[in-house]
Amino acid sequence: MSMEWKTASATADAVNKKELSAAEVVASAIKRIAALDSKTNSFTDVLAARAHETAAAVDKRVARSERLPLAGVPFAVKNLFDVKGIPTRAGSKINRERKPSTLDSVLIERLEEQGAVLVGALNMGEFAYDFTGENVHDGAARNPHDPTHMTGGSSSGSGAAVAAGYVPLSLGSDTNGSIRVPASFCGLFGLKPTYGRLSRARSFPFVASLDHLGPLARSAMDLSLSYDAMQGPDHEDPVCAQREVEITVTEIAKGVKGLRVAKLTGYFAKQGEPEAYAATDRIAKALNAFETVSLDDAAVARASAYLITASEGAALHLDRLRERAGDFDPDVRDRLIAGAMIPAVWTIQAQKIRRHFRAQVRELFERFDILLAPATPTRAPKIGQKTFKLDGQEMLVRPNIGIYTQPISFIGLPVVAVPVWPDNGLPIGVQVIAPPWREDLALRVAYQLERDGVCMSKEPTL
């Protein structure tokens, strides 16, 4: 296995055993980015000097016999995370005029404390209002498995950088699906934790009611390692739960025996391409999950998430829309302006529906431990594609890639997106959905599927 394709856990193991130095690993990552990222356009900032300095510090800690769970693991972050020394652009033209950040995001600090090394910031859809990975200012991130296709968004660079083998780990944000969609299109494992589980402090927001942060990786174990490193309360994020760290690495290999798994049907069996259903069926079969259940109000849940997103997003950007509308990505601007027209009663009603939908899902989780659903209705569309046909109906691509992810994040459930390869073409993801605060269960399932060869990430030819 090439150094570039090593998982985070294998890299940390080798660095802890002094078979590799963090300096060597990071130098290799930076060399690969320089050589190949013109094909994938995943990085907006490569922080070579910082990365070399951090790697040297990690090697010193290892030399002192410190054992670091993420020793020498290169990682990169969506450019809405604050990174000391650069402006937090959040995919926009406007934000790159901000002053450089004086501190790193909390999650970057936590990963580096465990030995990981930040190597750069990543392309994304403007202000995270995107499922495509296209960006008028920085160009589209390109899918490493076929650069003519979308990476998915809005954590587009986070998907491309890991799938291309530049880094084994990245961080993204997920308001309505922006970790799970790139994981699906790029053939990766992605974890959207429970709402409030990971601190969002020092990251640029989008929709406070729905914003989550989380990792993408090429293995379930790497999700688990990084998730464990990032957990814990944080007074800087008022939404971050006052829960102690609940380690998942020690749980992940416990297998799936005894877990009650069901496939979501109804809403989740409409408006998709056959491969989306086939992928979900393949996962269900591998888990011996033969029961299907319907979430009656998934459509209204998705509609509610849609309204809250449009309304809160518009509120966040209202001043910028008044003063600098021409500096937005037109696709984002028009959606945000439309959001500014929403009467308050519509979004208040949507917020009330959350509690109802949560109760409906809680009932399901009394009978099941895990629910399965497609992550996206299709495999990655072509870059520039504006519409697709879902169930015979012509629909806009940008707002509708997230039809299966939105109802789930609406009530903050933890999800691991797992990659399935229907044929020799592009991958498609399946959502492994767990009850609130039970990331460990979804990670266990993902790990078992990977161990059984049902799900995997594949090295692209670049």
Partner: protein, 72 residues
């Protein structure tokens, strides 16, 4: 409880209604919807109103609490 009622007839159902909403909303929020943006804004506002039809057709109890800061 939580039964569905017909979509509210007061929601904008045609292009003229969307235009009226855009003009009024823009004026009250201090936004300038230039002609180059208008068609895109209207497409997205139409999508939003379609979502709102579903949401407003959903009956919730008077004592239902909104969840702006949500605890799963």
């Amino acid at each position: 409880m939580h039964t569905k009622k017909p979509a509210s007839p007061s929601l904008p159902a045609d292009e003229a209604a969307l235009d009226t909403l855009i003009d009024a909303g823009a004026a009250l929020s201090g936004l300038s919807v230039e002609s180059a943006y208008r068609a895109g804004v209207k497409i997205h506002l139409n999508a939003v109103t379609n979502a709102a039809k579903l949401v407003l057709a959903f009956e919730v109890e008077d004592d239902a609490e909104p969840d702006p800061v949500f605890r799963p």
